[in-house]
């Protein structure tokens, strides 16, 4: 299983990747902004995307919208501190598959991954 991790925080990408490693996912690609995430998606066959909301270049919502516009149904999980109802609704309407609010632990992440792919 290959996962694209998009977050403008290098430390947060490391945290997420460490959590992925702990649940058996070791093949990961990193993107530091929304445009890098879209470029990485187009260049690499990934099985899932974990994206932050607030990022430079393009934010997570724009990333989701643009990827869905290609016709891709790849699981996309928004990993963010933004958890208000209006924001969750906006994310779902854009095509997000699920939502993971920070802070999260490896069990929280595992539960989200298990919904979409076999790890």
């Amino acid at each position: 299983m290959k996962v694209l991790v998009a977050d403008d925080s290098g430390v947060m990408r490391k945290i997420i990747i460490r959590a992925l490693n702990s649940v058996g996912v070791t093949d990961t690609i990193e993107a530091a902004n929304g445009q890098e995430a879209i470029d990485a998606f187009k260049a690499n066959p990934v099985d899932m995307i974990l994206t932050d909301w607030n990022m430079p270049e393009k934010n997570g919502l724009e990333v989701v919208t643009e990827i869905r516009a290609t016709g891709s149904e790849i699981p996309i999980i928004m990993v963010t501190t933004e958890a208000q109802k209006s924001q969750v609704i906006a994310a779902i309407q854009a095509g997000v598959s699920d939502y993971l609010t920070k802070p999260f632990d490896s069990d929280d992440l595992r539960a989200k991954l298990d919904k979409f792919v076999a790890v």
Binding site: S9, G10, V11, M12, K14, I15, R18, N54, T81, E82, A83, Q84, T101, K102, P103, F104, D105, D108
Partner: protein, 171 residues
């Protein structure tokens, strides 16, 4: 390099603690527990006036909309090195970009998770900023109501300060 916390013995400890305090305290504990795997202890709660502690790194994030205020998370440089070491594989010896990034993210998560649990609609969170400087202090405006949470962990003491304008309904 770090400065020990010194509480002014003359500072008044208002026994009436604002209800927000519990939310920020529990969210801080959850952030440290889930993201760092650290157990932390809330050792004391005080209000402003006479607070003398100085720290090396502070994460700062603002609230607006339903609640106007600022959250400040302050700790020693050594504590940030301990936190960063678990992610970087090596212990930093200076306040690097990764250390700043980590403090900003922890502050963002404490602020973000707290705002959703305060029971106040329409709170917006700003972007986190990080101040680094040995022995600096962060001060609030005199008009702000300030609650200071003093935490302890194996890596040392740190504080979470919340300065805000009391919503008229909550006064």
């Amino acid at each position: 390099m770090s400065t020990a916390v010194v509480l002014d013995p003359n500072a008044s400890k208002n026994r009436t603690v604002h209800p927000f305090v519990g939310t920020f305290a529990s969210c801080t504990e959850k952030v440290f527990s889930t993201m760092l795997g650290w157990d932390i202890v809330l050792a004391d709660q005080t209000q402003s006036r006479g607070f003398l502690s100085k720290y090396d790194v502070s994460g700062i994030i603002g609230f607006s909309g339903g609640l106007r205020g600022t959250l400040v998370v302050s700790c020693s440089a050594e504590m940030t090195y301990s936190a960063a070491e678990s992610f970087l594989g090596a212990r930093p010896t200076d306040i690097t970009d990764d250390v700043v990034d980590l403090v900003g993210e922890l502050t963002n998560m404490i602020g973000g998770s707290s705002k959703d649990r305060l029971g106040i609609a329409g709170i917006e969170l700003g972007l986190p900023a990080v101040v680094s400087g040995i022995g600096h202090r962060v001060s609030f405006q005199p008009s702000a109501h300030v609650e200071i949470l003093h935490f302890l962990c194996d890596a040392g003491p740190f504080t979470v300060e919340i300065g805000f304008r009391l919503p008229s309904a909550a006064k």
